[in-house]
């Protein structure tokens, strides 16, 4: 027999001004199973809470209904009070007399009647409440970081420095990402490699970091604190333990004319290669698509010249299985190539290049050793034009967003050009200069005022080649849209930053969402910028949106802290508002018939198959089983279940039907 206590709060006058609280309490006292009913000025105050606690103790209450404000406000308060008095906190319910009644209706009988109804509904519900306990799950204190650009490097180092293990995987042969391709960085013009390479080395040497390059995520299962990841280590055709990184193979490889990814196609590399001199690890891989041995079955020169016999032509991809408690996704971004622009020649003019290609030209480690030279004929351009918003802010091309980083790097490019080619003239076509950031605006002003870069406000309509020059047709919108034609030697397009290749596939593997542009979606645009909507998976850097280096690094450190918070606990606790599949005595075991409709309905992949076997191991029945670690308690499966075998704790069928009945029987 239930013994329920009803506690009606006046909330000062917030409730009592329109609701007759005494009458509500009095009516409630007459309900079946109500052992105690009282109204009080401030239920949430200390005396109010004591009132509840002592009633629980004295009357031996089995359930509590607090009729006060919204449960979204004070449910935790009152549940805690109940727990302190020895009552299971989930035996406490709240009737929302303030937000849903007294504040929205005029004083009168109808309002008091509604308040009475609301209390009655919950009195009836609480009779069916069950004691629930918080869910505890263990935490595997190893993090998996995907992507070895600056964001992934930063996140790995930060997590590793808190004393936790990190596995860092990178799809390319070396870590470093786009940052390793950059020449100088805005707004300080310090050399990108100089500040990055020490970090790369630190990653390689850190005792807490396991680095897998040339590796990709194959699959991911599990849930926060308890993920199981499969990693594909693509074959490097090399025994890394034997290889000393002497580089002899790369110099002797006869296939030398493969466009270098690192140099954005402006230079070549052999088929066995290290992407760049400072690569980490500094050991080569064989590019099987171009290697003569793999394509034609002959050559093996690298094998012959290798002093340590480290080449392994028959090496296969390796799948590594790891258990991790959290993931940081730092897979970065890509840029549109010049062939995306019909009006700028579909990529057919060699001297129309992307911003990233310009970085390689300007970089001391690049194909021109840092001299700005035209890809077509190696001449130093006398006139250079930079185009901002190439593809960005262009809904007609399917990219309505601002790529954010271009305004700054264009100013940097123009500045670097002016520093390197003193007699040269540089022009920047822009729509707006977006230089929000510390010392950013000042940097752009320096380009304009001190380095004499010509900024023209307008978009370029067309570029074509004539007599070795690139004719750039633009307009100056600050001069009444006056047409402007520049005969340039080189044009740099600040092409749009886009989501990386394979972003969708990765998102699907991780069960995280992505936006219409395939950038990964954060859990909340303001308050959860590094979380995803899958607990335990965090984002860092430009995989979430175009970001510059300082932003990527801060985001990575933010994600690392989130991981560290998670790893600071041995167990995770969660509210027990989750779905459960009923179990019955044999021979039925459960009313679940194993249709598994719930499996397809669940947005969290939280429902699995459970096989019930007899002592001889023979299968009796397959039924659904909810993984309490993954279930978030939405209850979609409950509405789907044909046999009503799955139920959600705290919102059971019994409870919800009772609420409807309780409401309407006396309504």
């Amino acid at each position: 027999m239930s013994k329920i206590g009803v506690f009606v709060c006046h909330c000062g006058e917030n409730i009592s001004a329109t609701v007759d609280c005494a009458k509500v309490a009095e009516t409630a006292s007459k309900y079946d199973g109500v052992a105690f009913s009282v109204d009080y000025k401030y239920m949430c105050s200390d005396p109010g809470q004591s009132l509840i606690k002592s009633a629980i103790a004295e009357k031996g209450l089995t359930g509590v209904v607090v009729a006060a404000c919204s449960p979204r406000m004070h449910e935790p308060t009152f549940r805690k009070a109940c727990a302190e008095a020895g009552l299971n906190p989930y035996m406490c319910e709240m009737a929302n007399l303030r937000e849903h009644c007294s504040w929205v209706h005029e004083k009168g009988e109808a309002t008091t009647e509604k308040a009475t109804d609301l209390v009655r509904i919950l009195v009836e519900k609480v009779k069916y409440n069950q004691s629930l306990n918080e869910i505890r799950v263990p935490v595997t204190k190893t993090a998996l970081v995907i992507g070895g650009g600056i964001a992934g490097i930063q996140a790995s180092l930060d997590i590793a420095n808190t004393g936790h293990k990190v596995i860092l995987i990178e799809k390319d042969p070396s870590i470093g990402g786009h940052m390793s391709q950059l020449s100088e960085t805005f707004p300080t013009l310090d050399c990108s490699q100089c500040i990055l390479t020490p970090r790369m080395v630190e990653v390689a040497q850190h005792p807490n970091i396991t680095l897998y390059t040339y590796a990709e995520l194959e699959s991911l299962e599990g849930f926060i604190g308890n993920f199981k990841a499969k990693i594909r280590r693509k074959s490097k055709s090399l025994d890394e333990k034997l290889c000393t990184g002497c580089g002899l193979c790369t110099t002797k490889c006869p296939t030398k004319k493969i466009p270098s990814e690192f140099n954005e196609g402006l230079g070549n590399r052999p088929a066995i290669y290290v992407p760049f001199p400072q690569a980490v690890p500094n050991k080569p891989v064989i590019d099987r698509i171009h290697c003569t041995y793999y394509t034609k079955g002959k050559c093996r020169i690298c094998e012959k010249v290798c002093p340590t016999q480290a080449i392994r032509f028959d090496q296969e991809d390796q799948i590594v299985e790891v258990e991790v408690g959290a993931l940081v996704i730092a897979t970065g971004f890509n840029i549109k190539q010049t062939d995306f622009f019909p009006e700028y020649g579909y990529g057919k003019y060699p001297d129309v290049i992307t911003g990233l290609q310009f970085e390689r030209l300007a970089s001391a480690s690049g194909p021109t050793l840092g001299e700005i030279r035209r890809p077509s004929d190696g001449k130093i351009p006398e006139k250079i034009v930079f185009l901002a918003c190439a593809g960005s802010r262009d809904p007609a091309k399917g990219i309505p967003y601002c790529s954010k980083i271009c305004c700054m790097y264009i100013a940097k490019h123009a500045m670097l050009y002016q520093h390197k080619v003193h007699s040269g003239k540089s022009y920047v076509f822009y729509m707006d200069i977006r230089a929000g950031g510390k010392m950013y605006e000042e940097f752009v002003r320096r380009a304009i005022e001190d380095d004499g870069v010509n900024y023209i406000r307008g978009r370029v309509s067309k570029i074509y080649e004539k007599n070795g020059k690139l004719i750039v047709n633009g307009a100056d919108t600050l001069l009444g849209a006056m047409p402007i034609e520049i005969e340039a030697d080189m044009v740099v397009l600040a092409t749009a930053g886009i989501a990386n290749d394979g972003a969708e596939e990765l998102a699907q593997k991780l069960h995280i969402s992505y936006d219409p542009y395939r950038f990964f979606a954060e859990a909340h645009p303001k308050l959860k910028p590094v979380e995803t909507n899958t607990a335990g998976i965090f984002l860092a850097g430009a995989c979430q949106a175009p970001r510059d280096i300082p932003e990527s690094v801060s985001m990575a450190s933010g994600a690392a802290v989130k991981v560290a918070c998670l790893f600071s606990q041995d167990e995770l606790t969660r509210e027990p508002i989750i779905a459960v599949v009923n179990r019955q005595a044999p021979p039925a075991y459960s009313s679940c018939v194993g249709c598994f409709l719930c499996v397809s309905a669940c947005p969290y992949q939280a429902i699995e198959k459970e096989e019930i076997r007899n002592r001889n191991g023979e299968l009796i029945k397959s039924i659904a089983k909810v993984n309490p670690g993954l279930c978030q308690g939405c209850g979609t499966c409950v509405a789907f279940c044909r046999t009503k075998s799955i139920d959600i704790q705290g919102y059971t069928h019994e409870q919800m039907y009772t609420e409807v009945l309780a409401l309407l029987n006396e309504y």
Binding site: R72, N96, G635, I648
Partner: protein
Amino acid sequence: MAEFEPKIVAFVCNWCTYAGADLTGTSRIKYASNVRILRFPCTGRIDYMLLLKAFDEGADGIIVSGCHPNDCHYTSGNFHARRRWIMFRSLCDFTGIDTRRIKFSWVSAAEGAKWADIVNTTVASIRELGPYTEYKIVANNPVKEVSHG
């Protein structure tokens, strides 16, 4: 004769519409007192048999409301609810249940005024339709089973 006061039951999700109705309260926007809110974790949890139960027990009108598409706290519960609603509505039409008495809407946690508006318009339209006495008639005279022989 006093004006007919319809009994309206609202099935709402905890994250958007329940919070939206809280905001109506904190904004002190007044609305008709004929509605009683039942709180669910998500519209995806709402078993539409509960709606029939409510009509059976004497409800005159029903509101089902949750997060806007793409705003679901659980990413896709509201889409399931919407899909099931489309099915359920045609089932109601088939069996003769008056679907004008069910209001399906999205109210976000920021739409306090919209919640008041939905309650008021629903109350007004149900008031116009009158008490739902036909339900008992429909429920007690089920369509004869169709033979597939």
